[in-house]
Symmetry: C2
Subunit: 131 residues, 2 copies
């Protein structure tokens, strides 16, 4: 189904299609290594360079979002509908929050910035860790 991805205007190599297929409909928040491991099953010669290269291209095209939820490594979010995240402070489980908030800022607080968007990180303790 390369047609689906034509509008990305990037070269659709077999490796890239494998990455795109792994990300398609994926509701986790995979790291580069998660993606590498998954796609390597199909392409044993797959390299990290290709994974990072592809993620960078997809990020530029607005197809995925780079997340900063984990200070140890980058995670990527294949769901590009607007949403926020709820993270367990004990086990780092991540849950999507599909809920819209009205966050208007008083002019005096934004110091001349042109506002573009926002992202909320909620912190909590997940059901498992509460036990």
């Amino acid at each position: 189904m390369p047609e689906k991805y034509r509008n990305l205007h990037i070269k659709l190599t077999p490796q890239r299609l494998a990455i795109l297929s792994y990300l398609n409909g994926n509701r986790t928040h995979p790291s580069a290594e998660d993606i590498y491991k998954a796609v390597q099953k199909q392409y044993p010669t797959m390299s990290f360079a290709t994974v990072y290269n592809t993620l960078e291209a997809l990020k530029e095209k607005g197809n995925i979002r780079e997340l900063k939820l984990d200070s140890a490594k980058k995670r990527y979010d294949p769901d590009n509908t607007p949403h926020h995240h709820l993270i367990c402070v004990k086990c780092n489980e991540i849950v999507d929050i599909h809920w819209a908030f009205e966050l208007s800022l008083p002019d005096k607080t934004v110091q001349g910035f042109e506002l573009i968007g926002n992202h909320i990180e909620f912190y909590g303790i997940c059901r498992k860790c509460k036990k």
Copy 2:
């Protein structure tokens, strides 16, 4: 003024006092390296191990917050009053947003999590970069 920091209940070595004095009233969002460079002027033998060790101790005591605003490196916030951040997507300038938001989440969205707190990242373009 070591008295000021007695309630931290950590050993107040000269190196730590220098770090604390650098952080005191500091409204930037320094990285470990920023702190290292600043304190090294006074203690040429200062090591990164000591900086990280101290930051970890201060974080545990709730004296500073670790920020994930920058995916390349950790930043620390010496201002522990509740606030959010506004980041320029072009130059990464960071501005504090001291403004309270009411962010209640519908039960069904939190999947059994016990909510603890939240942090909002606002994105925008700063005055300088708009030109």
